[in-house]
């Protein structure tokens, strides 16, 4: 029996090598990540709004520009009201529970305390609930920054591209169909 095996392996060596290559390539195929540019449209699915976002691998978490944010107390919990204008110019009001306050360390400035909320964000065909910190900032080119906590595991960023995807999430749970520009 043992004597037999060697010639078989030798005879089929070419096929074995091809099979081995295929097996070795499998994890690479399964690991396929979506390639995106450094500016992409994202949808905040449960608020029917689409924003232009800068894809920022330098930021741990995502952040949203909310120049008119207003913190208040509701039944002992901290809540925040603010409005955001989408790419279509429509303003959408938000009223969200603050899950915590976060300290942002920035070069050359005193660290800043920002409210953090949970948001369902959709980029290409990926939807995730992520923490988003709110910043009251005027001169800001993109209303949203998408950080690593959203991007991790699902995306590859190619800085030579912009607007290479569209948010593909069709339905927001409590508001029915979302208008996705095709």
């Amino acid at each position: 029996m043992v004597m037999d095996k060697t010639p078989i392996i030798r005879r089929h060596r070419r096929w074995l090598i091809i099979l081995l290559c295929f097996v070795a390539a499998c994890p690479l195929l399964a690991d396929e990540k979506q390639v995106i540019g450094w500016v992409e449209k994202v949808a905040i699915t449960d608020h029917d709004i689409i924003l232009s976002a800068k894809i920022d691998t330098g930021a741990k978490h995502s952040s949203l520009n909310a120049p008119d944010l207003h913190l208040y107390n509701k039944k002992g919990e901290s809540w925040v009201k603010f409005s955001v204008a989408g790419v279509d110019g429509r303003k959408v009001e938000f009223d969200e529970r603050v899950i915590r306050m976060t300290k942002i360390k920035r070069k050359g400035y005193r660290s800043q305390v920002r409210p953090v909320i949970l948001m369902k964000i959709c980029l290409a065909d990926v939807t995730k609930d992520v923490e988003v910190n709110l910043v009251d900032r005027e001169n800001f080119l993109y209303p949203m920054l998408v950080g690593r906590s959203f991007l991790r595991g699902g995306f590859i960023v190619d800085v030579s591209k912009r607007h290479s995807t569209k948010p593909q999430c069709k339905v927001s749970p409590d508001r029915g169909a979302i208008a996705v520009p095709q």
Binding site: K33, V35, W38, K54, I55, D56, T57, G58, A59, K105, R106, K107, G108, Y109, R137, E138, N139, F140, L145, R148, L151, R152, G153, G154, F155, I156, V157, D158, V159, S160
Partner: protein
Amino acid sequence: MSLPDLGVQHIKAKVDTGARTSALHAFYVHPYKRKGELRIRFGIHPYQNNTTYSVDCDAHVIDYRKVTDSGGHREKRYVIATHLAIANEVWEIEMTLTNRENMKFRMLLGRTAMNKRVIVDPGRSYLLGKLPKSKR
């Protein structure tokens, strides 16, 4: 990665698609003129959390321009051109000099330097290897 023109063998950089230009922290900058050419001497601490080891650099200034930082504030920075070596690739990038002493990373690799050269996987780090602990 390394910056061969500046004599920096190893430096850890944050790969930042949110930044247009790359930045290098310098703990001093001395611009001067040589034969009518604007040059700059500066010092860097390439290793994180290590301010005893430093490298003194000298480079030609290609620009002195306003850069908007992450806080939306503008500041004028010296810009130099230097070669960057990652894995087996070497190419020239523009780098602004800034004081990043209080930040974790001594270098930021921005979009202009990465354009059509590299793509970024935000879920992973040290893909091209890490310096052995003894050398850090």
